[in-house]
């Protein structure tokens, strides 16, 4: 894998708790979760910029459009 860079991130207590909760659920380090988030954001952002829409489907197969900035 390519060389990695290190950075400091400032998060609120609530944001840090959310990050730690995801780390716990997914059994990943904070770095790995941030990488996943970045990959997802980049992909979704590009698709939406290209005219695509993002929907979330619930268990009843009902779809709700997600607004992503």
């Amino acid at each position: 894998m390519a060389d990695k860079k290190t950075m400091t991130v400032n998060l609120s207590d609530a944001e840090m708790r959310a990050l730690e909760e995801i780390c716990e659920q997914k059994d990943l380090s904070k770095t790995a979760v941030v990488r996943q988030a970045l990959r997802l954001y980049q992909l979704v952002n590009a698709k939406i910029a290209g005219g695509a829409k993002l929907f979330i489907e619930d268990e009843k197969k009902e779809k709700a459009e997600l607004m992503v900035i």
Partner: protein, 201 residues
Amino acid sequence: MNRAQLWERKTDRVVSAELLPSMTPEQVVQTGENWQRFRVQARARLRRERAPVPEHDHWDWDEKSHDLKFTAYRCLGIRYEDEIQGLMMISTLAVEGRLLVHKGKPVLYVKYIESAPWNLKAYVGAEARFGGIGISLIRAAIAVSVEEEFRGRIALHSLPQSEPFYGRFMEDLGIDPDVERLRYFEVSEERALKFMRGGDV
């Protein structure tokens, strides 16, 4: 992890090939073009002989290479004697594990995996040059999964022609109605660990 062991069928010897961990879009496009030239001739012969063409014959690596502009995707390759002998496109944006023991855990997804056409009996019969490409690429996918903290968990949907191959070392979770009715396979952490220790498939 930057080497892959291939079996040269003609000489019946194992050769050490180079594993490319992250190919550029240009390298992938070039490989696709080289393979396509070979395929055109092989396909013509298959038609004359009224033999079936492989199910993935239409795969277009030029088109697939467009995904490489996203950090979610990587293409790995195996190079031997200046030729790419196999390609694999993976998504490091995790999917959720479907095996009961993996529920909710991140899994690396193998989008496409292909051997060069001159290595496939379906194209060239007994003239096929190298074996062991699929298994070397799967081993590399497991290594990336470990690197990404997914503990070796990987998954893929298989074309019908490849189901017996993946069924040898992956858990078969049946036909997926949401993905072209292809069969879904997943490698368990335990199996992945054996793989990484160099165990048999």
